[in-house]
Amino acid sequence: MLRPETPEQSAFRAEVRAWFEAELPPSLRDLTFRPARELIMPWYKRVSQRGWLAPEWKRADGGMEATPVQQIILIEEAARIGAPDLPTQGVHQIGPILRRFGTKEQQARHLPPILAGDILWCQGYSEPGSGSDLASLSTRGRVEGDEIVITGQKTWNTWAHNADWMYALVRSNEDAPKRQNITFVLIDLKTPGITRRPILTLADDYELCEVFFDEVRVPLENVVGEVDKGWDIVTALLTNERVQIGSPSNALRALQRVRRIVRLLGERLDASGRDKVAQAEIEVAALTAAFLQALEDLAAGVQCDASYLKILASETTQFVLDVEQGLCGPAAALKSPERVGEDVIDFSELFLQSRRLSIYGGTNEIQRGLLAARVLELPKGR
């Protein structure tokens, strides 16, 4: 953040920094891979109890109604100390959807455990045959009495093997036209008939999963919105709810790694390396400025465009990691991190993992298509 802080903001930063220093166990710092659930959840709960897990949420929902600058301060300080990446699909994905589309009962039942860290959520959108063309999904959801019976397969489900619940899209009506036959449903993953299989990724971690459904019976009260109207929930612009996709959190984590390498290299960093480092600094500053302004626009009632933010945040992070790879020389290929004094330098882990940033949540190609159609109002694509 380039702008100056007010005394209150500086005090908040000092408070956040001191708290992280005191509370974040050293074993959880500077990790690239997400620690196992039992290792990370105590920290998740501590952050939540401190009120900083969902800073942007309303106080009534358990948040702190943080200002845009406070949100940036939290993100910057988390990056600075190397705080681990928390499983926040509940906070950033299903939470906002339930707040906008859920019933009072659904909100009361599901929102508090998200904040408390008692329930972890995963997303169930993609299928083997339905990636970018999500509306072609074929997992069936047959309504029978007061239940919806689900059969089919979901895939690429982030952390599904560690999750308790899934929010998913299923095809609920064979006769209705495409997109008017999809239902948004909440599934307790302990329900009989569900099989989960972790998928080893290119980055050599088990971040993803495939999930099989065989006649899984879900009560209709777990449908969000109406049966057959789930597509509206996914496509309703949801720009306000999706603004967190533009968070500079990943980019700052990446930049922190670049800065450590720069400090290690010192005078050995050549002019070309310095130029790339400066570019990385500039791009992250631009992303931070863009995110801050999106939050400010939101506060002022101005809509922002999530596709723009998603493209910017993901590609900025990837760019910074390209720079990091370039600075490392042959060490760029090393699989495991290096401890140098107080610092941990990881050479390839985040770079490998970051491939997914431009794929998940709607590929950047899909985002560009959306942006061209909705924001630039270009003629229907071919």
Binding site: A278, L292, Q293, R368, L376
Partner: protein, 354 residues
């Protein structure tokens, strides 16, 4: 000065009313035809309206506008491609007022009353004959050049009359029909406006504001070129359909939009850092980003237009050349990145020590 977006909008609109004479880009083309002669009619109105005092404090009789006001105005008028040195003139008043000398006051009075335009030259090294050490942009407008003299060890701010330079260092035409005057002050008398570290600080601040202003103008120029291109993508038909329906072009257009929006966000953020210890770094970041973005974007605009985009007659050429010229002025992207690196590493080391 302005607390709200609507006040900034009013400021921008009043600048537009002055600079937009309803001839589309007619004045820009006329300036091209008459180079190096300039038509001072609109400039007289700009002075009469008091614009050169925009950034001067209200105590000094200025408007008390801040850097955020400045970038809003410059982003908002850049599409007019006005030939007048509007952006370059804004940083002069705060610099001259910081001198606190009667000589500086006299230069300012001449400027404000439209008698003699003073513009600021910055120092750099250039691949030019004669080893010039300074350059002033919009040189065909600059009756006086305010520049730094570091030859004696101490920092001195000088005003140099254009006549003192004309013989040895004539103004050179730029691709956008502006001009640059490269010069060195060896053997040039000039007039001392002030000296010492405070004046040096004010001079560096003026340089930062010039960069920031150019960054804002680059965003405005890029936005207009992009809007022209979007219109073209919607109306130009080939293979029986608008070319904007082709995914290859849609995706590139989306990338251009993202780049332009991000650069504008950075420029606005950098304006908030003016007056703080982050100022130099922030302005360099804004200029580096806006320069790289704008030049990349206008290249894409020309490509998407095809041959018509490569003609002088089509207005895109004016935006292309303006972007190229602005991008290299007051420190191009590479030079700004050097400063960003130096300042960032210092900041990082300081932070680690703390």
């Amino acid at each position: 000065m302005s607390d709200s977006a609507s006040e900034r909008g009013l400021l921008r609109d009043s600048a537009r009313r002055l600079l937009d004479t309803g001839s589309q880009l007619g004045r820009t083309r006329a300036a091209r035809a008459s180079w190096p002669e300039v038509d001072r009619k609109i400039w007289g109105e700009v002075c009469l309206a008091g614009w050169p005092m925009l950034l001067a404090s209200e105590v000094d009789g200025g408007w008390g506008a801040d850097a955020s006001d400045m970038v809003a105005v410059l982003d908002g008028v850049a599409d007019l491609l006005a030939p007048e040195p509007f952006a370059a003139s804004l940083v002069v008043a705060p610099l001259l007022l910081a001198c606190g000398t009667s000589s500086a006051r006299a230069v300012l009075d001449d400027m404000v009353e439209g008698r003699s335009i003073a513009l600021t030259a910055l120092g750099e090294t250039f691949p030019m004959a004669g080893d010039p050490t300074h350059v002033v942009a919009e040189a065909q407008w600059a009756d006086r050049i305010v520049c730094a003299d570091r030859t004696g060890g101490a920092f001195r701010l000088l005003a140099v009359e254009r006549e003192e330079l004309d013989q040895a260092w004539p103004a050179r035409r730029t691709v956008d029909d502006g001009s640059l005057r490269f010069f060195s002050i060896e053997g040039v008398a000039g007039q001392e406006l002030g000296l010492g570290p405070d004046i040096q600080g004010a001079f560096e601040a003026a340089g930062n504001l010039l960069r920031l202003g150019a960054a804002a103008s680059l965003v405005g120029v890029a936005q207009r070129a992009f809007d022209m291109t979007l219109d073209y993508l919607k109306v130009r038909r080939q293979f029986g359909v608008p070319i904007g329906s082709f995914q290859a072009l849609q995706h590139r257009a989306a990338s251009m939009h993202v780049g332009c929006m991000a650069a504008r966000a950075l420029v606005r953020e950098a304006a908030l850092a003016v007056g703080t210890s982050n100022e130099g770094r922030a302005c360099a970041m804004a200029k580096a980003k806006a320069s790289a973005m704008a030049v990349g974007l206008v290249k894409e605009c020309v490509q998407m237009h095809g041959a018509i985009g490569f003609t002088n007659e089509y207005d895109l050429a004016l935006y292309f050349r303006r972007a190229v010229s602005l991008a290299s002025s007051y420190g191009g992207a590479d030079m700004c990145r050097q400063q960003v690196f130096d300042d960032t590493v210092q900041a990082f080391i300081k932070e680690q020590a703390a």
